[in-house]
Amino acid sequence: MTAELRLPRLLAEIANAGSTHPVEGSTVTEALEDLFSRLPGLRNHVLDEGSSIRPHVSVFVDGHQADLETGVGDGAEIRILHAVSGGGRDARHSRLV
C-alpha cells in the first residue's frame, strides 16, 4: 500500500525534509517505520520512550484519528499533527523550589 504522509512544519523543517512523503505500509506503524527508514531522526519526535505516539501528537488517516494499529489503504492520507496544548506546567513541576 502506498500512502501520502504529511508532516507538520516543525518536523519537516527540523528534518530538513519536505512536508509530504510517500510511504509504504498497511498500518500506521508500518507507514511510520517506512518514514523513519529514510528520516531516522524523526522517530524520537513522533514516538515516546515506549514506542507509543507521543502524548501531544495525533495521527489522522483520511481525516480520522488513528493509532499505531490503524489500517492504511492505498492512496490514504496520513497526517501527523501536534495538539493545541500548553500554557501550563506539568503538575509535577509546580513546586517552587
Partner: protein, 343 residues
C-alpha cells in the same frame, strides 16, 4: 566575536562587523534551543526541544547546514522517565557528556551522534528522593577532571565521582536545603543548586549559586561556606568565572518568589577576591528599571575577557573588558536560555 543565542523559539547567530551586529536566524524555528556545545571533530552542537516532539541534537561544521542526529539521549522504556531537555554539554578530550531532564547524565564517544547513560548516577540509590525544581528535575552542569567528575542537579544537589563516573556521592555539606526548617535533620539530597563554576587549575575550588545562597568550596564539595558579602540578594542562576582575569560573576535576583533584579536594577556583580566580597561589575547599566531575569545557561565568555549574557526578556548584554564596561545590544529575541560565544 560570534554569539549563539538559544531561545524559546529558535536560535540566532550574531556576528559583529563594521556595520554593527549581523543577525542570522532563526535556526530551528519554533524549537526551544536549550544548549550549545562542540565536539572534538570540530562540529558545533545544538540541543533542541519541543513540548510536543521531545528532544533532538544537531551537528554543524559551518553553523549554516545542520544535521540532526538519529539517536539523542533517551531513557529506556522501563525507566519510567521522560526525556524533556538537554541542559548542557561538556567535553573533555574525545568524550562528550550531556546533562538532561528528567535528571540524568549521558556520554558520547562518537562526537554526539549516539549516547550512553551513566548508570552510577542515573540509578543512584537516592534516586527515589529526587524532586524537581521549578525548572524541572534537571542535570544542568557537568565538570570532568579525569576520574573526578561533578554533576549539579536541580533540586537535588551536587554529586561527585572519584572513579570516572562509576559511583557518585552527594556533596552538599554546608548548603541550606530548600523547603525545610533550619532545625530539621539534614537530608542527603534536596539541595537546589542553580549553577557552579570551577577553578580551571584546581577544580576542587567551586563557586555555587544555589537557591539558598552563594557558596564556595575548596575541597571538591566536601564543605561549602557562604560568600555573600556585598550582594543585594543571594538568589539567582548565574555563576561564572572569567579565567583570563580570575574574576567571578553572578547576577542577583530578588528571591525565589520574585525572580527579577532587586528594584529592577539589572546588574552583574563581580568579585576580584574569589568571592569574599562582591560589587557591581563596571559601568554601562541601564538606569531604567529592568524587571527581567537571567537563566543559568545564558552567560558565556570567550576566555579573553569578552562575555555576554541574555535575559528572559530577550535582550543581550556584552562586555569586552572583563566586566569593566557593559553595553546592551540592540536586537531583541524571544526568552533566552542559552548563550555560547563561538571561538
Amino acid at each position: 566575536m560570534r554569539i549563539a543565542v538559544g531561545t524559546e523559539k529558535g536560535a540566532y547567530l550574531l556576528e559583529d562587523g563594521s556595520g554593527g551586529w549581523a543577525v542570522t536566524g532563526p535556526l530551528f524555528p519554533g524549537w526551544k534551543v536549550s544548549a550549545f556545545g562542540s565536539a572534538s571533530d570540530g562540529a558545533h552542537l545544538a540541543a533542541v526541544g519541543s513540548n510536543w516532539f521531545g528532544v533532538g541534537i544537531h551537528r554543524s561544521f559551518d553553523l549554516v547546514d545542520w544535521e540532526q542526529t538519529d539517536t539523542p539521549p533517551s531513557w529506556p522504556e522501563d525507566a519510567g522517565r521522560k526525556m524533556e531537555q538537554v541542559w548542557t554539554f561538556h567535553r573533555q578530550d574525545g568524550r562528550l557528556w550531556a546533562g538532561v531532564a528528567e535528571a540524568g547524565l549521558f556520554t558520547s564517544d562518537d562526537q554526539g551522534v549516539t549516547w550512553e547513560p551513566v548508570p552510577g548516577l542515573n540509578e543512584h540509590r537516592t534516586r527515589d528522593q529526587w524532586e524537581p525544581g521549578f525548572g524541572g528535575l534537571c542535570a544542568h552542569r557537568v565538570k570532568v577532571d579525569g576520574d573526578t567528575q561533578w554533576v549539579a542537579i536541580s533540586a537535588v544537589g551536587v554529586f561527585r565521582s572519584d572513579d570516572g563516573g562509576a559511583s557518585w556521592e552527594p556533596k552538599n555539606d554546608g548548603v541550606a536545603p530548600v523547603g525545610l526548617p533550619e532545625d530539621a535533620p539534614r537530608p542527603e539530597v534536596g539541595y537546589c543548586v542553580h549553577c557552579v563554576a570551577h577553578h580551571p587549575d584546581d577544580p576542587n575550588r567551586i563557586w555555587r549559586q544555589d537557591h539558598s545562597g552563594v557558596y564556595r568550596t575548596e575541597d571538591g564539595g566536601e564543605n561549602w561556606a557562604r560568600i555573600e558579602t556585598g550582594l543585594p540578594a543571594n538568589f539567582g542562576f548565574v555563576m561564572w568565572r572569567d579565567d583570563s582575569s580570575g574574576r567571578l560573576f553572578t547576577i542577583p535576583l530578588e528571591a525565589d518568589s520574585n525572580r527579577v533584579p532587586v528594584e529592577g536594577a539589572l546588574r552583574v556583580y563581580r568579585s576580584d577576591d574569589d568571592g569574599d566580597v562582591w560589587s557591581v561589575s563596571g559601568t554601562g547599566w541601564d538606569e531604567a528599571p529592568q524587571f527581567t531575569g537571567v537563566l543559568r545557561g545564558a552567560f558565556d565568555g570567550d576566555g579573553s575577557g569578552g562575555f555576554c549574557f541574555g535575559t528572559t526578556g530577550g535582550k543581550l548584554w556584552l562586555t569586552r573588558d572583563h566586566g569593566d564596561s557593559w553595553a546592551e545590544l540592540a536586537p531583541a529575541f524571544p526568552r533566552i536560555g542559552a548563550i555560547s560565544l563561538l571561538t
